[in-house]
């Protein structure tokens, strides 16, 4: 059982606050660190991995400090986001070197390469690898010593769907084995598919934490805004506002459209086509106007 604890951790660079007073505990199983780009996920992972000192607060692994503690790497495996990785070596040479640095031998490297299914390309230079292959070799280098904590920064970036499925399977398996696995992503669907537990970070702050269903509910239950054009906007507006799932409608003359705010996402999505059909109104445009992740996240922060 390995538990990573962050206690009131902040990190600033000059005047910029990258991480703002975050307290969280990451236990065994797969945890997703979700947040839009620039939210501070990488800064957070770098502090968890001991590559950056918190400006204030502490990061500990089972009570031992992570910063300036080389021995902690016997228990941590890290898959960095950056691509650079001794391109002049072959995949096998790279993983063997990583094993040796842990005091292990070729056998550990062979096992790790088999785990990520990279044996077929292990004798090619890393410089010739695709992004997905690099990702898997990085993964193998992080697994050689069978760490109890695995940290992955945006591991699915640049992977094709098949590679993504394979890596998800691998991480799931590691979580089921009782290892503590934490990965970051800015894509909700990705996190949802893999992690039971989600930590949401927005603008350096800890916005939400919990089971993925709870986070999903928070995200879908927020007020949704739609831009709607129809054959009779006013009649449609009158019919929609009669239902409690709609909290506000504005007639936008410039756009020639309605701006609808719905509070009950599920109900509204079935209501709209039904109302239109009952009133003989043709729907011309229905488009969500605030589906960007940033707006979803900023709602979460306010919630």
């Amino acid at each position: 059982m390995t538990t990573l604890s962050l206690d009131h951790v902040s990190r600033w660079f000059g005047n910029v606050v990258a991480v703002n007073d975050i307290t969280m505990t990451i236990g065994p199983g797969v945890t997703g660190l979700l947040g839009p780009n620039g939210a501070g996920k990488s800064t957070l992972i770098n502090m968890m991995g001991g590559f950056l000192a918190p400006s204030t607060g502490t990061v500990t692994l089972d009570g031992r400090p992570v910063w300036r503690n080389e021995e902690i790497y016997r228990h941590i495996g890290i898959v960095p986001e950056r691509e650079a990785m001794y391109d002049f070596l072959t995949g096998r040479e790279f993983v063997v070197a990583n094993a040796e640095l842990h005091g292990l031998g070729d056998e550990a490297a062979r096992k790790a390469l088999a785990t990520v299914e990279m044996e077929y390309a292990q004798d090619r230079k890393i410089a010739t690898y695709s992004k997905g292959m690099r990702q898997r070799v990085k993964m193998a280098s992080a697994l050689v010593h069978e760490p109890s904590l695995l940290l992955l920064d945006e591991p699915f970036n640049g992977m094709d769907p098949r590679q993504r499925m394979q890596l998800m399977g691998l991480l799931r398996k590691m979580g089921d084995e009782g290892r503590t696995v934490l990965f970051s992503s800015h894509i909700l669907e990705e996190v949802e598919q893999l992690a039971r537990h989600i930590e949401v970070v927005v603008a350096g702050r800890h916005a939400a934490s919990g089971d993925y269903r709870k986070i999903r509910r928070l995200m879908t239950d927020r007020p949704h805004r739609y831009l709607v054009r129809s054959s009779d906007d006013r009649a449609l507006a009158a019919a929609l506002i009669a239902d409690p799932s709609t909290s506000g409608i504005e007639v936008d003359h410039a756009e020639g459209a309605l701006r609808v705010q719905a509070v009950d996402f599920g109900r509204f999505t079935t209501l709209l086509p039904k109302v239109a059909r009952d009133h003989g109104i043709r729907l011309l445009t229905v488009s969500p106007s605030d589906e960007s992740l940033e707006s979803v996240f900023s709602y979460l922060v306010a919630a």
């Binding site: 990488s42 800064t43 770098n46 590559f51 950056l52 300036r68 950056r82 280098s141």
Partner: protein, 239 residues
């Protein structure tokens, strides 16, 4: 302290095709110059000392030192691949120490060996000049490697700073401005060379004791400090 895996990775990075070409260019130039000088003016002790002192020790050795010293760690820190060394249960000073040994070995091979060959071509080691400058190159290799390894650890512009130091300080001020000469690896190495050669052909601005003390102090302090810097090296901040 010495980690063979770190050493292997460092050697392979340093002796990659492009860097090896750069490392080989200056020694080749030195030998070409020596052959030309010998062919044109015959064997002359003073000329040999001028070529070895003016080009080999004052220019070639520090530049090779910059390439090997900063190249042993700088590129890894720049591109972030050093993370694979840092995320291991390895003492950070051991990483620095290993890289120092590799940088010293590479600098010695690419500077002291060609100095010896050039010396033999120029005057067949007359008056011990070839041996004296080879010893100077060996001694200077150690101090330069330590200095430039530190520079590669603390600065992203290590090569530029290193070249400025090597060319402006060592080659220019080091031979022109009296005060600067005392604080010059080149002069310290020359003091050792003077002891080897005897006579007046190889001279230094500093005494042997001062030179040895300063050489050891600079090497030890630079290595220690680089180890400390690597312990608190921060890899983040791109967000």
């Amino acid at each position: 302290m010495y980690d063979p895996t770190v050493a292997r990775l460092t050697y392979r990075a340093l002796l990659g095709r492009r860097r090896a070409l750069i490392l080989g260019a200056l020694p080749l130039l030195l030998i070409v110059i020596s052959v030309a000088v010998r062919a044109l003016s015959g064997a002359d002790d003073q000329t040999a000392a001028d070529v070895l002192g003016g080009f080999a020790l004052a220019t070639m050795v520090p530049i090779i030192g910059v390439i090997a010293g900063t190249g042993a760690i700088g590129p890894e820190i720049d591109d972030g691949s050093v993370v694979y060394l840092l995320a291991k249960p390895l003492k950070r000073p051991a990483i620095i120490f290993t890289k120092l040994i590799v940088a010293i070995a590479v600098t010695m091979v690419f500077s002291a060996v060609p100095t010896m060959i050039a010396g033999l071509i120029l005057n067949g080691n007359g008056q011990q000049i070839a041996v004296a400058y080879t010893v100077a190159a060996l001694v200077a290799s150690i101090a330069y490697s330590a200095l430039f390894l530190l520079l590669g650890t603390v600065s992203r512009h290590a090569v530029v700073f290193g070249l400025v130091y090597a060319l402006v300080w060592e080659a220019l001020f080091g031979s022109l401005v009296p005060g600067a000469r005392t604080l010059s690896v080149q002069q310290w190495a020359l003091a050792v060379a003077h002891k080897v050669a005897g006579g007046d052909l190889v001279t230094s601005e500093v005494g042997l004791t001062t030179a040895v003390v300063l050489l050891v102090a600079v090497t030890v302090l630079a290595t220690w400090y680089a180890g400390q810097k690597l312990r608190s090296l921060k890899l983040a901040g791109e967000e």
